[in-house]
Amino acid sequence: MSAPIFRDGEGDLGFRMTWWASRALIYGVLTLWAVICLFPIYWTVSTSFKMAPDVMQGNLIPWVDYRPAWLGWRSLGLSPDTIGAESTVRAEFLKRFANSAVTALSASALAVVLGSLAAYGLSRFSYRFGPMRNADISFFFLSQLILPPVVLALPFLVLYKELALLDTRIGLILLYTLTVLPIVIWIMRDQFASIPTELEEAALVDGLSVWGAFLTIILPIAAPGMVAAFILSLVLTWNEYFFAALLTSTKAVTLPVMVASQTGSQGISWWSMAALSFAAILPLIVIGILLERFIVKGMAAGAVK
């Protein structure tokens, strides 16, 4: 065998070595961080199928270390053998789940409607409310983001008591809308600014009114941004705990409050807590996997100008 005619020189070999080393390092770090991100979720899922000895021995891999059991899900009334039967825990869980879903969905929808309108107006027309001009009005809306929830919590507690809105879904919806409104305006302002005004000008020349142009021309173009704002609002409102803990007691209790109250009564029934926690985070995990594109878009909006 003769030596190959074309071969890598000494310098190239060194280069390839460093290239492989950097690849290995990059994938190593990426994998490590992926494990850090995913392991708690995996731990929760696997714990919900464990029995007491498995928890204490720290068994990790199903079917190898331990035999999965429906223990955690049975305590929620969601395992195959209890799903048909009556279960007060399941009824309770479903009620909380429905509360969370209704409040999160309606608050996000309301915030997207109000926020999109305001953002569109601010990006297209000039306003004057007394001494306030457009920039001031925008700042007024966005500055609500700084407002810590604790400042509003106690006044709202008293106000809602007077208005008979304590422990109602409507009360929570109104508050949640307020908390996500600045974020929606932030995202939508960015969206509308990227749409050229020539589109509306053409529509106006063709005889549409301002609102007609907005509804028929601009909204379809801005829809992806609205979806992004909606999803991001959904994430924030679904996970909200502070207001829900203060303002609800029995009827309108949301899922995070239920999870928190179960944590307090530490009966070390880890499997049922794991099942409950996992059931609470599952909807958002699904949303995160399916609609990741929109979430990224929503969070990136406004960061890059």
């Binding site: 731990w43 309108l117 000039s126 008979a164 106006l204 995990i285 990224v296």
Partner: protein, 368 residues
């Protein structure tokens, strides 16, 4: 800067008749009079002068809704085309004013009372007593001090987030998988996270992280035993949930940098280290500042994890202002004092954020 205002300038000629103008005024002022009237009657009812048997203030709320609607309609009637434009912003503005300004003013009036929901006597104005009590309250100052520590942790979070964003921006396979995996912690409810990590994974006997710590040579791992370690643990858990937020923003910034710039730097002979510090990092400065500011805003609201994992312990070492006030209300029903603490916190935040935004504005302005 996002261009704003008067982009869609249309000259319209609205011929609004005097009758229409009068109708508009009547609509707005009539509904306003209704609101004032209902509020007055309610106030008299609450004071016991009138006995209408109204159990709550709902009628006033409805009157406000009616007035807000009439105001929006009235604008169109009164001003025609210009009014239609106002209607874009008006609903959000009316909503925010009703939900923020009014409660804030109301909050100020309870901040200076000794109102305790558990006591039988109602609220009583007590002047500066709450302020004096706050001044002498070591736990409040301790909580404020903790907030400084928590804010400082953002520097580390930023470094990690930037590193991850750089990795995701590199030429890698399975980018979508990694992006989704890295994003997931942000989607999880902090309450669930406090159980999943704080209560079970960090549990001293069976928790996997405690096992790992023991395997690494830590004799008796206790993550909430000493004040410093407890605070560090809370910081790490909070970082775990919020690093994705900064990472995504920084990633968007990195993707907006034209490839030509880094290529030009390489052609000019810059190594990766040099090209990062001389080209990428300066270009990322505005995005970085935005990401850090948003992270600070979220950090100042930190409470859920603290309330559910440590309840402020040990000895208040992990307390945030929000969790402290939450317990002040939950355990002692001290509405008056708690509101004052919250108001002081708000003032501090507003000052802090204003200074910070001014500084950030100066730093990111392009040097000419």
């Amino acid at each position: 800067m996002i261009p704003e205002g008067d982009l869609l300038h249309v000259v319209t000629r609205d011929a609004i008749s005097p009758a229409r103008r009068a109708a508009g005024r009547l609509l707005i002022w009539g509904s306003f009079a209704l609101l004032v009237g209902v509020a007055l009657v309610q106030a008299l009812n609450a004071a016991g002068r009138l006995d209408l048997g109204l159990a709550n203030w709902r009628p006033t709320l409805y009157a406000y809704a009616v007035w807000a609607t009439c105001l929006c309609i009235g604008q169109v009637v009164l001003k025609g085309e210009q009014g239609k434009r106002l209607v874009f912003v008006l609903p959000a503005a009316l909503f925010t004013v009703a939900m923020v300004i009014f409660p804030l003013i109301f909050g100020l009036t309870i901040a200076f009372t000794d109102w305790n929901l558990a006591s039988l006597s109602g609220r009583k104005f007590n002047g500066w007593d709450n302020v004096r009590q706050m001044w002498a309250d070591p736990f409040y100052w301790n909580a404020l001090g903790n907030m400084v520590w928590y804010l400082l942790a953002i520097a580390v979070e930023y470094a990690i987030a930037f590193g991850l964003a750089l990795l995701l921006n590199a030429e890698i396979r399975a980018r979508r998988f990694f992006r989704v995996a890295f994003l997931l912690p942000l989607m999880l409810s902090p309450v669930a996270v406090s159980w999943m990590i704080g209560k079970s994974m960090l549990e001293a006997r069976f928790g996997p992280l405690a096992r790992l710590a023991r395997w690494l040579g830590w004799e008796n791992p206790s993550f909430f035993g000493s004040p410093e370690i407890a605070r560090l643990t809370i910081m790490v858990m909070d970082a775990w949930t919020f690093i994705p937020l900064m990472m995504i923003m920084l990633l968007a910034g990195l993707q907006a940098i034209p490839k030509e710039l880094t290529e030009a730097a390489r052609v000019d002979g810059a190594g990766p280290w040099q090209s990062f510090w001389q080209v990428t990092f300066p270009l990322m400065l505005p995005v970085s500042v935005t990401a850090i500011l948003i992270r600070i805003i979220f950090k100042l609201k930190l409470a859920d994890i603290v309330i559910n994992v440590t309840a402020g312990g040990p000895g208040g070492a992990t307390d945030t202002v929000t969790s402290f006030i939450f317990r002040e209300y939950r355990d002692r029903s001290n509405v008056g004092y708690g509101t004052l603490l919250a108001m002081v916190y708000l003032v501090l935040i507003v000052i802090f954020m204003t200074v910070l935004m001014k500084l950030a504005d100066r730093w990111t302005r392009p040097r000419t």
